[in-house]
Structure formats: C-alpha cells, structure tokens
Symmetry: C3
C-alpha cells in the first residue's frame, strides 16, 4: 500500500518530476520505420510531450518539440528539407541539433536567430522501429537487444491503452496472474464463448523467484509437474527496466514494450521474432504492424486471447490504479521489488548518475536471458501462441504457422537422417 504522494511520484512521467527525469534517460520506439518512409514527418507523443519526428530526403532523422518557438504552429506539419525541418507557417528552419538556421522574413538578424533554439532529441532506426531519446545530452547508446537484431521473421502488434505504464510493469513481475488470468479466467471465457482454452497456462505455481540484474529483474517460476531444473526456473525471463519485458519459448522471441505516451496512456507493443530451430530465412523489406483489439462494440474488453486478458486487467485497474487501498500479499513480492527499484533509480538520477540499464558503450547485440521451454509446455507453446495469443490478429498468421511447421519438419527429418 502506498500513500497518495508515493503513488503520484511513482506514476509521473512529466519533465521535472523524479520519475519523469528517470524515464528521460532511455530510448523509446516512437514510430514504425515504414511510417516516415510513407510520409517524412509525424506528430508523436512521448512522456506527456508532443514532438515532430522527421526524416530528411537523405535519410537523416530528427525530433524536436512540436510547437515552433516562433509562434507555436506545429512543426509536425513542417517542410522536410535536406538540412532540417522548416516551419510551415513562417519558414524558420531547425537542424537536427535544434539550432535555428534560417528565419527568412527576419533577414539579417543573426543575433535573434542564435537566441532561438529547440530542445532537439536524438533519433535512430533499429529493427523496423524509429527510436527517440529526448533527455539530457549526451545521449546514451540505443541498446541493441537481441530481438531487434536476431535472424527471424517479425511482426509488431500494438494498442494504445488508457492507463499508466507502471501497472503494466507491475504485471511483468507477477507470475501468479498467469495461473488465474490466462488459466481460470480464460477457461471461463471459453466456456461462454464456445472455445477450449489452452491448458498450459492454468498450471499451479509451486514456487516463484526474482533476481535483480543489470537490465532489470529476472522472474522465475516452478509450475506443477516441473522442477528447478526446467527453463522456467533456471533461466526465467526478465523485466527490462523501465518499460519492457522479454518473453518467448518454442522458437518465439518477443519484446513486450510499454511506452509511456503520457501519464494515463501507454503504447503497448508486441515485437515478435519467429526463429525456431530449422528456420529458413524469409525476406522482409517492411516489418508488418497491426493493431490489437481492445474493446468490442459494446465497450467490453476483448478477452478471448492472452494479451487481451492482460489488457483488461491493466486497464480496469483504472487510469492510475489506486495503490492507497490495495492489499498486497506475499505473492506480490515482485511488485514490491519493482517499486523499490523505481525508487532507487529516482535517487540515482537526482544524484546525477545514470539509472539502471542505460549503456554508453558501443555494442553489437545485447542478449537477454529467456527460457526456451516455456511453462514446461514444449512445442505446444508455439501453437497456443499463434492461436490463442495476439498473433491470431496478425496479417502474417498463415506465414508464421508455416514457418513453425516447416522448421519442425526440417528438424525432424534431419534427426531421422542422423538416426539412420
């Protein structure tokens, strides 16, 4: 249970607030690469602020606050030029560093021009996403997590959710919910809607564990019928501080991304890579993205798929869940640990230190720990994932299934050949 003040502090995202300043030390995906290829400038919201994100004809990216410093017209309607973004209203030009490099109607007033600057951020492209950093300079490196650089077939599901990101992150250190939300509740929904819910999620949790590590918190579990020798405990999977969770199994690798758009809106993204043993390369000039269903026509949550159940639980907790009247039990130990971690990073940033999970070294790839044999479910996991998870809404569903089936066939026939 938190006080109202503690709950406020934990959930703030705005500049100048302790958590807002922590959050401004990280890179966030703010657009799909294909979007700026289609039209070179876009309005984006991040951490409660609006920005103009752009890509010049030569491929340079930039991001600056949306209002032009001159008279506040939107730079998101700017004219993208070789050297910068030109305000549509009176033609002022800002370069990627936020310097005003042209004020055409002002003629020769270089003094005035120099006084005007926009607080530009940094932009990079990685894995089909455009990433932005809008905090203090110098910017840390964009972490090249495994999912964004590994070989495999990709798609990206997403939805904008009307709730604060912290309650979504608390869910990432809450293994017990799987047993009930994706087990018992799934079964209840299936009974009423006429389908059979997957059995693997409902397994009883015998033991759970949490370990802080350099990128966040590793979460472990032993489900009924499994042991501490199984992947779910030995490897586990991590909450990647402060806004991601890495999951996977059965040849599927996924980053669950929860971008704090503003205090009460979170962009939820499922960045998925299908890369089973035996995967043969499929070309993807553009990575497909698709919107996840959240509410049905009656305004009720769509809960006949795994992530739809999560979304329901997160969103119905309220725009900012009331932690002043909650009742945390022993099973919420991961939640308590995460809140402490948030608190510690506020302290670090207040002291001028880099918070957890910022990286300043150039690097090729960061591998995150993640179990391969999930819920001790074997190959069934990939099947359930496709049919009972968000992938059922992917335009790529057929291709994805074929990839898993033909990879399994290949592995099987190789094994058979080896056995002869």
């Amino acid at each position: 249970m938190l006080t109202a003040e503690q709950n406020d502090e934990l959930t703030q995202v705005e500049a100048g607030t302790p958590m807002g300043e922590v959050l401004r030390r990280y890179w966030y995906p703010v657009a799909f690469t294909r979007e700026l290829a289609e039209f070179p400038v876009k309005r984006v919201e991040l951490l409660g602020e609006f920005f103009a994100l752009w890509r010049s004809p030569s491929g340079r990216y930039g991001i600056m606050p949306e209002p032009c410093p001159h008279r506040k017209a939107s730079m998101a309607y700017g004219v993208v030029e070789a050297d910068g973004l030109r305000c549509p209203y009176h033609g002022w030009v800002f370069n990627p560093d936020g310097e005003c490099v042209e004020q055409p109607a002002e003629r020769d007033n270089t003094q005035f021009q120099k006084r005007v600057t926009a607080q530009a951020g940094r932009v990079e492209e990685l894995g089909g996403l455009i990433w932005a950093y809008v905090g203090p300079m110098p910017a840390p490196e964009l972490p090249r997590f495994d999912t964004y650089v590994m070989e495999g077939f990709r798609d990206i599901g997403w939805a904008d959710l009307p709730c604060n990101y912290v309650q979504i992150m608390e869910n990432a250190v809450d293994p017990h919910h799987v047993e009930f939300l994706h087990g018992r509740y799934f079964e209840f929904v299936g009974r009423h809607e006429g389908f059979t819910a997957p059995a693997s999620f409902g397994k009883k949790h015998v033991k759970v564990g949490f370990d802080a590590f350099e990128w966040g918190i590793i979460k472990r579990r032993v489900v009924e019928g499994a042991s501490e020798e199984d992947d779910d405990w030995k490897v586990g999977h991590p909450l990647v501080f402060p806004y991601n969770m890495r999951v996977g199994g059965g040849g599927i690798h996924q980053m669950q991304i929860r971008v704090p758009i503003n205090r009460t809106t979170t962009r939820f993204m499922l960045y998925t890579v299908h890369s089973p043993d035996g995967y043969e390369h499929v070309d993807q000039p553009v990575i497909p993205d698709y919107e996840l269903p959240v509410l049905d026509a009656h305004g009720r949550h769509v809960t006949n798929y795994v992530e739809g159940q999560d979304i329901m639980a997160w969103v119905t907790q309220g725009a900012i869940t009331d932690r002043t009247t909650e009742h945390l039990g022993r099973s919420d130990i991961g939640v308590a640990m995460l809140r402490k971690m948030f608190r510690e990073q506020m302290d670090r940033v207040a002291k001028g230190l880099d918070p957890l999970g910022t990286i300043r070294e150039k690097h090729e790839r960061i591998d995150l720990p993640c179990e391969k044999d999930k819920f001790h479910a074997g190959a069934q996991f990939a099947l359930d994932f496709c049919d009972m998870g968000s992938s059922r809404f992917s335009p790529m569903l057929d291709t994805i299934k074929k990839i898993h089936i033909s990879a399994a066939d290949k592995v099987a026939s190789e094994k058979a050949a080896a056995a002869q």
Copy 2:
C-alpha cells in the same frame, strides 16, 4: 430559488453526502433479468459508484464494488462460481456477503484473508428487473409495488439521460407542464413535422393539489371540463419517493423510474403493464426492453413523443440545473414541497432513522393510488399512449394494440350479452 450550497446538497448522490446517504436507503433496479441470464456478471453504476453484479450458476445473486480489494482489477470481469465471484487477475473469491473466501496464491494466511472484505450489497429479482441495495445493513425489504407483481403484459423502455435526477423528480410534482409541454409544444412540433398532436394533453388546468402520504406525494388536478369528482382529482397519482412516479389510465399501469446513476446521469425507465378490463393472459418468459430515442442525427432532441418532450425539458435544464437564478411561482408549489421532503429525509437519516418509503415488513404487494380515467380522456388515453408515447418505439407495439382492442371488444360483447 436556492443558494449554491443548497443546490449542491439537494443534488448530491455520493456516499458521505446528506442526500447520498438518504439515497443509499433504497433499492434500485440495476439490470434486466435477461441480462444476467445471457452473461452472468455485469458492470453497473449506481449513485456514483461502480459495482460488479453477478448471478451464480445456482441462481444466487451478488453485488460488490467493482475494484478487487487486492490490486483493483475489475470484478465485473470476474469468474462466476458456485460460492462467489472470483477475481480474474489473481483468483481471490468473494462470497455474496463480501467476505474473501479464497486467496489461492497466498496459501495459508487466514489472518490476511479475514482482513480483506468487500462492501457487498443485497440483490433480488422482481418483475423482470434485478434490484440492488448498497446501503447500510440490515437492508430494508424490496417494496413489491403493484406494477411489478400485477397480472398484465409488460415492456420496459429506457434511456440514460445526461442530467441530475432531482430535476426529473421535480417534474413529477409539476402538473401544469402537461398543458404546455405535451399540449401547446406538442401541437407546435406536429405542425412542423406534419402530424396531429393529441388534444387531451392541452386541457387547461383549473386546479392542482398535493398531499404527502406514506410513499411520497399524491398529485391531483382538475382540467377544464372535469370536476373534483373525476379520478384526476379524487385519486390522482403519486410521486413515489425518492425516485419514481406511478402513472396510468385506460388499462395501462406504469412506473416511471429515474435511477441516479451518478450526479449527472439518470437512467430513465418506463416500466409499463398493459392490463385493461377484459385482458386475457399472454405468456412472457422474457420481458422485452428497448431504448428510447433521445437525440436525432443533428444532436437535437427527439420531441415527437410525450416522454421525448419530458426528456428535452429535463436535459436542457442543464446537467445540474441552476436553481440560484430560477423564478418559482405559485404554480411551482409541488416543487417546493418536494424539496422540503428531501430536506426532511436528510435530517431523519442524519438522526439514524429510516427515511420515507422504506419498509421492513415482509409483504406481498403494495398498491399505489393511481387514476384510471386519465385527463378525463376515457379510452382515447390508451390509444394516445400507444401512438404518441414511448410505446411507439416498443418492439411490442402491435401486440400491445391488439391487447387493448381485443380487451375492449370482449368487454363490449359481455356488456351487450348482459344487456340482452
């Protein structure tokens, strides 16, 4: 004219406010019986609070606040089980009394389990409606008013209106409005839309009267051409405190229900029983409900039917009408009387007494006074009611008309036979 403070006090519905506490001493219809038969748990709003309303497989009903006491996920997405409602998120179970009877991930902490309770209410089914009481225990009896238990053919029209319920209740002690809103204005609308408005509503009011009684206020009128010997005066019809009005005539019996959903939303329901002399029983396994039109495609009120005119008058008074600048006249005496009655019940409840119209004795049926020959209009009243009132939007309109016609035929032929 009220002060701003008086207007606030009169219109509040929230827990802890004087009127909110009065309102929490009554039962309210919160769903149609058919709804929980279709799906066993529903989110409902009442008196500014959200609740989960549920029905177990064995037919037990329950209601509790929507947020789970654990971590605030919605119990309205709960798993309905034999003994209670299970939270979808982590599986805590609450029985109909609000006791937490299971915390599966907490294992054996019975101390913790006992500390967690939900403020459950009481639920009963009557007349095709599910009724809830969410105030202090012990709950009074659900009043079995005549409309809910009498023989007859039923339907229920409804609309959620964006205004406070008090201005709707003031309309219930305001006989003069009939002459203008349903008389002169109806005629004006008909002239512009090309129909003939019913003549019976426009009759001049010669005299009006009001009497407090055990269930609220009886309203009486004498219209031009009638006398104090007529039903409209001798019997009248009542405002049933604090949120109903009983009306009828010509073999029609209706309860007009105005449930305070929150301070500025009122669920308006027309619970209608067609039961003319000569009525022959028609089976109704399910009572049909239908939504009333409020606004047209241009955002203007639909005013070509009686209750649409009332809705326009109520809603255009504002979300909470400004009583600090009103000009009450002699004709508003009923309004003043009602406000005094509200005030008196606040005092009673503050003293720990039951307010007007709560009943603690078991009973079979409560008959309310209601004129049979309305507006001195005879049989024409039922016809106008069907064609010019909300029933024109009922899916049962044809059946209803046939019921009235065949009942009238039966009575006529019986009379003829008797006269022979």
Copy 3:
C-alpha cells in the same frame, strides 16, 4: 511575448472581462437566413453564451439567453408565436425586447411577471446572414459592408475551429506567412500528394506595411517583381476590427469572418461574392452554404487548399496559443500593432466610449479598401482561387467558373469591338 495575465486578458470573450465587453459592442452573424426559414428557432452560441434565436411567422426576429428565467428549460425549443417566444415547459412568453408577457399558470400575478425579464439582444437580416447584437443598449447600427450588399454571385463556406479567434486575427496582419504557408508548404504538400501548387503565393515579400484606419488595419505588401505602384501596396486590404478580414482580387470579393463562439471555438466563414467586370446578374433566392473540410479520416489537417493551410496553422498553435514563450521578430510588427489596438479598445470601453468600428449612423453601404490585382497575379488569381482555395468544395464551383469565364469573354469581345 506576453505575460500569462496579458495573454488571458487578450483572449477572453466572456461577459464581464475587458475583451468580452469590447466584443459585446459588435454585431455577429449567428445563422444563415435559410436556417430560420426551414425551422423558426435555433440554438446558437456566441461569446461563450447560449441563446435562442427565433423568427416569428410575421418575420420578426428575436434573440434571448437560452435558459428560461422560470426553471431553465431551453427556449431554443420554444414555441414561436406572433408576439414572442413561448417556453416549451410552462408556457411563459417573452417578446423581442425580453419582457415576459405571459405566465399562463400564474394567472393574475402581474407584479411577478414584471420582475421577470430576459436580456434580449437585437437581430437583423443582411446578405443571407442573420446578425445578432447581444451587448448593452442602445445597439449600434449593423455595418452594411460592401460584400453584403454588392451585386454578384454568392456562396458561404464555413467551419467551426477549435481555437481562440485572436490567433486567427493575428494571421490577418501577417503578410509574410503567405510566402511560406501558401508558397513553400503548399509546394511540399503538392509534391507528396501529386499536384502542382500555384506559383503566385510563393513570391518573396520585399516590403510590408500597416496603417490603422477607421475600420481596423490596412495591410500592404510589395512582392518580388512588383512595386509600390501596384494594388498590393497602394490599396492593400484591411483587417476589419475586431473579427473580420476583407480580401479579394480578380473580380472576387470576400469577407473572412471569424466569430468568437466561445474562448476556444471560432466559427470561420468565407463570405464570397463573385462579381468580375462583365458579370451578368444571376438570381439567388437562397445563398448556398457549405462546410469546409478541416481534418481527414486520420485526424490530420487537410492542407491541400489555401484556407486549409491557414486553418492548420491557426489550430495547431493550440486552443489558446502560448504567447508567454513565443519569439516575435521584426516581421511580426503587424501582430504587435493589432495587440495594441485590442488593448486600446479595452480602455475605450472601460471609459464608456464606443470602440473602433462601431457605427451609429444609418447608412446604405460601407466600402472597404481592397486590392483588385492581387499578388500582381492578374487573371490567374481568380483561377487559382477556384481550384486551389475553399471554392473547390463549394456546391457552386461549376457555376462560379462559368461566371468568371463568360465575364472575361464578354469583356474581351467588348474590347475587340471597341478596337475595331
């Protein structure tokens, strides 16, 4: 740059505020004449207040605050009668002067009746528009500006914009924006949407000038290739204080009207008269009106026409643009001049004087200065106006083009005949 207090004062429209009191000294168009012909009473919002606007069967107009003084039901649903507007709820009648002339249910209480008055305004019809004055009496004259009374073919485009009117008016004294918003940005949009933007707008501004005059501010410009002998400088065109701009050229005469509906909503109207040399009278029993597109299906501004670009610039400045962080340059001199003019009129009104541009003499027609050869573009201006301006959305586009072509033909053949 303004302080927050100055920005507040400048942008207020409400009664009792300094600018709200200035604005209440002018007439505003509040409906199209055809609207009250179609239905005789309409709800209108003006300067942050709602009114009932009506037209009696005999052609008398009236305007009064929307809430009935009795019990606040909407007079915009009133019954229009010969002598006034009757409240739909209880039948009180108010005459055009706002006097209560009937309280039918109150019988003979003339004292009470006299105490009740509505603050009625004045209404006149001119040029296909219904104009209202809702300020202190006596009302000034409705100014009969040239566009409303001249011979020509008319249409009226309009849109309700979610921003304060002052930032729209600042645009009217901002010649430089044309070069960028309608030049460079238009070209950028055309490149991406596949059309060729008109060249005339992109001409470099060599010189601009501003002169206060009896109706507001005359704006002048010299564009590259032109001189001070050209219309753009010698004549210019005016901001008509406080909410209009008069423009035109190539036989087109237009009043750009920006009615402050409330503090953050402005009704933008393009009142256009096509009256080229050689124009032959076309009968117009009803002046057509049409809505301008503002946003597309994705919520982005429609910017492929001149006024759509203006709308984008105005609206994206924010509901009330933040003038506390702007950076005004030398090129914003007109903006500064306008703010000073607003400030001076607040002082005049505070002293009980009529503000700029109110007129108390009866008059037939007020001609406003307006260049005829716009942007030194000759006949091309009318063509661009039809194809690249708001007229492309007019239901009258074909007729308008024919008018300009046949007038030009007529002038040409007359010239040819004269030359023979």
